[in-house]
């Protein structure tokens, strides 16, 4: 498995987590939980952004792996 596809896998996991966190942030009854989920969501968005940028750079450098 190439670095690019590994990174894609990690990204997929993180995006799955992001989706679930978003549901929880909306569904949680306690103010404290709502806040924690919301903050977690924001942090996760930033991390995903970083990783996507890195993935873009990888694909530019090694176009043969694009889409794999």
């Amino acid at each position: 498995m190439t670095v690019g596809s590994q990174l894609k896998q990690t990204l997929a996991v993180l995006k799955g987590v992001r989706g679930t966190l978003r549901i929880y942030a909306n569904q949680a009854q306690e103010e404290e939980a709502k806040k924690a989920y919301g903050e977690g969501l924001e942090e996760l968005k930033a991390i995903i952004g970083d990783l996507e940028e890195r993935l873009g750079a990888l694909e530019m450098a090694e176009p043969q792996y694009k889409g794999s």
Partner: protein
């Protein structure tokens, strides 16, 4: 009027009356009554029975006695709620049995409690060692309540400085195959949500005996058919696991990748994820 008819009518009237009176007297549990309340309830019961069976010939006289025995306790209850003196006079005061780890023998004698009985009452509270007790009090109801020495108290999350999630009460949304609308609205959910959850679990509404939603929005289902194994909600653990895996991945990439900038980016994000894991842990794992 024939005798039987009269007794029937009297019984019916008193049944309703006593029902109302007991309701009016409040929600005190029979086992937790103080002697005074016990006497009041007993006298009300006896008067009602005697009047219903015509032992007290005059119905009006029976009602009169009943009125006295219900209205005066009600008035006293009213006063007791406002004045500690009246309350103590009516229901008695609690007696301190053990103070600072020492048994108060005088108080024990005053309450007519033997050492044997004290030890038994302590054992009821799961205390077998008198040495573990800091403070014990005999309530007016006869219960003994115990405060353990601080090093003998059970450990709570507070002692461990753990952060735990406040949980509100779960709401029952399905009972006997019927949707309970009150539970759903309390949770801010609707029928559509419930249908989706049931579809996810792969069960029909008719097959559910009890469905409860906890404060995080997860539903627990109990089916009529106990042979069916339902997967219990594990989304939280999976979510936490996913985050942990991603964190490990990023740490690995940081080690593998060449180039200072990419390394720093991975390491920084791995650290951020780590902090996120710490923060969400109490909410996701419990």
């Amino acid at each position: 009027m024939p005798e039987s008819l009269e007794i029937l009518l009297r019984s019916l009237a008193l049944f309703l009356l006593v029902f109302l009176v007991v309701r009016l007297m409040g929600k005190k549990h029979p086992a937790k009554m103080t002697p005074f309340t016990f006497v009041v309830y007993s006298v009300v019961a006896v008067i009602a029975a005697l009047t219903a069976l015509k032992v007290i010939e005059n119905f009006i006289l029976g009602l009169l006695a009943l009125a006295v025995w219900t209205l005066i306790p009600l008035a006293l209850d009213y006063l007791a709620a406002r004045s500690k003196v009246v309350h103590d006079l009516l229901h008695g005061k609690e007696t301190v049995l053990i103070k600072q780890g020492k048994i108060m023998e005088d108080n024990l004698k005053q309450a007519r409690l033997t050492a044997e009985e004290l030890l038994r009452d302590l054992r009821v509270k799961d205390v077998f060692n008198v040495a573990d007790v800091e403070f014990a009090v005999l309530e007016a109801t006869g219960d003994v309540n115990v405060l353990l020495k601080s090093d003998k108290k059970p450990i709570t999350p507070h002692h461990m400085e753990w952060k735990v999630l406040p949980r509100t009460e779960p709401q029952t949304v399905i009972m006997d195959g019927n949707i309970i609308n009150e539970g759903l609205t309390n949770m801010g959910l609707n029928h559509r949500w419930l249908e989706e959850e049931l579809e996810k679990a792969g069960v029909a509404l008719e097959n559910v005996f009890v469905g409860q939603v906890d404060s995080s929005g997860e539903m627990y289902l109990d089916l009529f058919d106990d042979a069916v194994q339902l997967p219990q909600p594990k989304v939280r653990e999976l979510l936490y696991g996913g985050l942990e895996k991603a964190q490990a991945d990023l740490t690995k990439y940081a080690l593998e990748v060449e180039g200072e900038e990419a390394k720093n980016m991975y390491a920084g994000n791995a650290e951020k994820l780590n902090q996120l894991l710490q923060k969400l842990r109490p909410f996701l794992l419990r």
